[in-house]
């Protein structure tokens, strides 16, 4: 502890990101700050080079008239120059606002208007086109600066400018006013807003969360000390820059700890790039881990019998003792020997193929992770942990400490963080990482921070006997069935979604007599299963309607029911009836948020007929839906959906059935 406080003192003067950047540029000028796979190799930028580039961009922006407090929109994949633009904006005392790069132009209007954006740095022609499309709706927008000049030759719009030209302009500016930027950096204070992150908005319009340098630096420092991160870490930055997780891990922590960010070549090559880099520190939402595991299992199905047997044998060994070995708990010598052998034959190579050989710490968050999934990674020696946090808390509230990993909790309150529960079970947090305000929304700010300065997360949860926090559901989503028993939809849905065959689930039951569910099957997993069974199908809709698939899913649902029956609080909310949706829930259709969270109300509205059919006992229901294709065209699909019953369990009978 004394060591970490020493470091805290040392970092005290480094209380803004620009200062941190300049610090690294002088302390470790030649260490790699960023790598980007381009032209076939990992082009490396040292801290010194990054600082110079950031300077040039900042001065260029200033030359264009960018002032303190202005917002800079940043739209694109994880490219080094976009991260530099974030830092450059901060140098000038501006506020970077990252947008989700895969959103269509119309979806961007709101944020651009709300944040009163005048300057935008975008990745490429695709994003430029979006800006031009909505130019009329965002009249404040004055400058759009693009990173990649490809295809931009014939764009004559005066608001466009290449980042190269901007940097060149900035270098000249810097030469003419050598003290300008340092003075600007000096003006910065820890309490200044360093970034604005828009919450994805499960309900209502997105809100801009204003975070200060101090908040993110505190969150980053806490995480760094908690996991003993050094400047030698390698992290792969592939999650949207607009997401708080990426900003914490790829930007704030890298700036605090001085480690290296690695940007993949393109969205298609993330897996290859992950394997090449072999990060030591890794972050991914549960979905990514789940897809990886599914792929592992599918690829192993094609292996020869001997290899498959070997694999399953050692996976059994790992399941038995792997997690304990990782946690440093006592394990018998026999198991240790077996595990060591398994490590040589299976786990080691497996981690290598997945690009996880070098991982020291991996985190997942954003959604609940299935216990089997979680166990799998830990058992093969990947130190995967969960964390809990929101955009409003810099994604930093609870962390799982090494050696004390519980599958169904999110760990203990992180350093500097205070967590308590109110009388309704809602989680309240306080600490240096709290948001300063919602942008231009004093009402919302007042609503979410109570009089004692606690942020109300809106999540319901409780502490277990060891002081680990357990999350049940969104506090407002927790409802009641007509018989009065608790209905926590997310909790149930997550349990269903832990089955690889299920991609999404939406449950209904608040104010009803029983619980029912929509299911989305996982096309890849179920498709594979169908192929092995020799079933023919022509696509998602066809596969989803097959009776055998209904059987498969019913089996999953009933297992969940058995599981729920064990928990006295939850045994009343077993799923009575379900149907498999004829289309995949899609963010383009508004059914999911961009972070792939279910939009419950929207779905309830769109599929009202189906919900009624579920509750009134019908055997099937016709539905027609409008869908949006990738090119923006719309089409209709209609289908006759079957509705099936699932077995439920009496609370006392549950144990045997499970």
């Amino acid at each position: 502890m004394s060591e970490s406080t020493g470091q805290a003192v040392h970092l005290a003067a480094l209380d803004t990101f620009p200062r941190l950047l300049m610090h690294h540029a002088s302390v470790r000028p030649n260490r790699p700050a960023m790598r980007e796979k381009e032209y076939g190799i990992w082009q490396t930028h040292s801290w010194a080079a990054v600082a110079q580039n950031v300077r040039a961009i900042a001065c260029g922006l200033a030359e264009l008239g960018f002032k303190r407090g202005d917002r800079l929109a940043i739209i694109g994949d994880n490219r080094p120059r976009l991260y530099w633009s974030v830092a450059a904006c901060q140098c000038l005392g501006g506020i970077p606002v990252m947008l989700y790069q895969d959103a269509v132009a119309q979806e961007m209007i709101y944020v651009l208007q709300d944040a009163e954006i005048q300057f935008a740095v975008v990745e490429d022609q695709e994003q430029v086109d979006k800006m031009l499309e909505i130019e009329a709706e965002v009249p404040l927008l004055r400058h759009v600066i693009y990173d990649d000049p490809r295809g931009m030759r014939h764009y004559t719009q005066t608001l466009l400018m290449g980042l190269d030209a901007l940097q060149e302009m900035g270098r000249i500016h810097d030469r003419n006013h050598p003290d300008f930027l340092d003075a600007e950096i000096d003006k910065g204070a820890s309490d200044d807003i360093s970034v604005m992150l828009y919450t994805s908005g499960t309900t209502g319009k997105p809100k801009g969360v204003c975070q200060t340098h101090g908040a993110f630096i505190a969150a980053a420092t806490g995480g760094m000390e908690f996991d003993r991160l050094t400047d030698r870490e390698d992290i792969l930055s592939y999650l949207p820059m607009a997401w708080v997780g990426d900003h914490l891990f790829s930007f704030a922590q890298a700036m605090v700890a001085g480690f290296t960010i690695n940007c993949p070549e393109s969205g298609d090559t993330v897996m290859t790039d992950l394997r090449e880099i072999g990060p030591t520190y890794y972050f991914a939402p549960p979905r990514v881990f789940e897809n990886l595991l599914t792929q592992v299992m599918i690829r192993m199905e094609d292996a020869g019998a001997v290899k498959r047997k070997l694999f399953h044998h050692f996976m059994d060994v790992a399941r038995r003792c792997g997690a304990d070995i990782l946690d440093g708990k006592p394990v018998s010598v026999g198991d240790r020997v077996q595990y060591a052998l398994g490590n040589f034959l299976v786990y080691g190579p497996l981690k290598n193929v997945l690009g996880m050989s070098r991982i020291r710490v991996a985190y997942t968050a954003g959604a609940a992770i299935g216990p089997d999934l979680f166990r799998f990674y830990r058992s093969i020696g990947v130190n995967l942990k969960q964390l809990y946090g929101q955009t409003e808390t810099c994604a930093y509230v609870c962390l799982q400490p090494d050696g004390q990993i519980k599958l169904d909790s999110v760990g203990k309150p992180a350093p500097f963080v205070e967590v308590k529960l109110d009388d309704k079970g809602e989680i309240l947090v306080k600490g240096p990482m709290l948001l300063k305000a919602y942008y231009k929304r004093p009402d919302a700010t007042a609503e979410s921070i109570n009089a004692d300065g606690y942020f109300m997360t809106g999540d319901a949860g409780f502490f277990d006997e060891d002081g680990h926090l357990k999350i049940i559901d969104r506090a407002k989503d927790v409802g009641k069935l007509n018989d009065g028993s608790m209905f926590a939809p997310n909790y149930i849905e997550n349990k269903v979604k832990f089955f690889p065959y299920v991609k999404e689930a939406v449950t209904f039951g608040n104010g009803r007599d029983c619980v029912t569910a929509f299911i989305n099957i996982d096309l890849e997993a179920v498709g594979n299963w169908a192929e092995r069974k020799g079933m023919a199908y022509s696509g998602y809709t066809d596969l989803a309607s097959q009776p055998a698939v209904y059987e498969l899913i019913r089996d999953c649902v009933e297992k969940v029911n058995a599981d729920l029956a064990v928990d006295p609080k939850m045994s009343g909310s077993q799923i009575r009836r379900f149907l498999i949706l004829h289309k995949e829930l899609d963010a383009d259709d508004g059914e999911l948020t961009r972070t792939r969270k279910v939009r419950r109300n929207f779905i309830a509205e769109r599929y009202g007929v189906l919900i009624e059919a579920l509750f009134d006992g019908r055997k099937s229901q016709r539905i027609e839906t409008v869908v949006k294709y990738e090119d923006g065209r719309e089409g209709r699909i209609s289908a006759e959906l079957r509705i099936e019953d699932a077995k439920t369990f009496a609370p006392q009978a549950a144990k045997q059935a499970a």
Partner: protein, 277 residues
């Protein structure tokens, strides 16, 4: 914000975007006749190609289109006629000499080097520009290695341009047809040609692949100012992207001019209706 409006309408003195300007004639073919042992492939054909233009050659199967390209880059030697390239009269010329003069091409049936990776295939396109000798190669040290790296960078730019980063180390034989076509274009581009001959670059492709290829061809023409002579069957594509079109039928020229002129030429219409096309 009044400022904003002003900027929008005012003709700001920005450097003009380099417009692709069609220049002088760089390739002039006069009275070309070619026969193989009595079979006439081309009869008295004359046409020219101007700098920076996209010049298409169309015609039914067996019209002599590919033979025409083969004459231009020296694979076939016409019995009659003369060829002027960049003001020089060429008599008998070998393909590698044509390559040295800046003429590159792709083939109707993919002519990639099957045993080599995508990277190596495209690297062969740099061959003419590499100066080290065999002994330096055997050492692979100093100058030779430096040269290899310099040209690798050029090749990587081509790979990036054609968006084939994901397959750079794949043996070309394992690639699907559409990608092989793209790699072949890459190999030609790596030579930084001033005249690019494309023999049915879109044959056998699906709509999406055709669109991609079209975009690449236009980009090449636009960004590098490369003059392009193109053989293509897809009339839509030809009419869309060509500056001028030559029509051949049974080895004779039956039409020449802008796409619209050619489209309305009765002889051309007859030739196309007369065949199964």
């Amino acid at each position: 914000m009044m400022m904003n409006d002003l900027i929008q309408v005012a003709p700001v003195a920005q450097p003009p975007v380099a417009e692709r300007r069609i220049g002088d004639v760089i390739l002039d073919l006069q009275g070309i006749s070619l026969s193989f042992g009595g079979v006439k492939a081309l009869t008295n054909i004359s046409f020219d190609v101007r700098e920076h233009e996209i010049r298409s050659i169309i015609g039914p199967n067996g019209a002599g289109k590919s033979s025409m390209l083969n004459v231009i880059n020296g694979v076939y030697h016409p019995q009659e006629g003369r060829i002027m390239f960049r003001g020089e009269l060429r008599q008998k010329m070998e393909p590698h000499v044509a390559a040295a003069q800046g003429i590159a091409r792709t083939f109707q049936n993919i002519a990639l080097f099957k045993g080599m990776s995508v990277l190596d295939n495209i690297m062969t396109g740099r061959n003419l520009k590499m100066k080290c000798n065999l002994f330096q190669h055997a050492l692979y040290w100093g100058r030779a290695r430096q040269e290899e790296i310099e040209h690798r960078l050029k090749v990587e730019e081509v790979i990036d341009f054609l968006e084939i980063q994901g397959i750079r180390k794949t043996p070309v034989g394992r690639l699907p047809y559409g990608l092989q076509k793209r790699v072949e274009l890459g190999r030609a581009l790596a030579a930084e040609p001033s005249l690019l001959l494309l023999d049915e670059p879109m044959a056998g492709m699906n709509v999406e692949e055709k669109q991609d290829m079209c975009r690449f061809i236009l980009d090449v023409n636009d960004q590098f100012g490369t003059t392009i002579v193109l053989i293509e069957h897809d009339m839509g594509v030809v009419m869309d992207i060509s500056d001028r079109v030559v029509v051949l039928d049974y080895g004779k020229k039956i039409g020449d001019g802008a796409p619209d002129e050619v489209k309305n030429n009765p002889e051309v219409i007859a030739a196309y209706l007369g065949t199964s096309h």
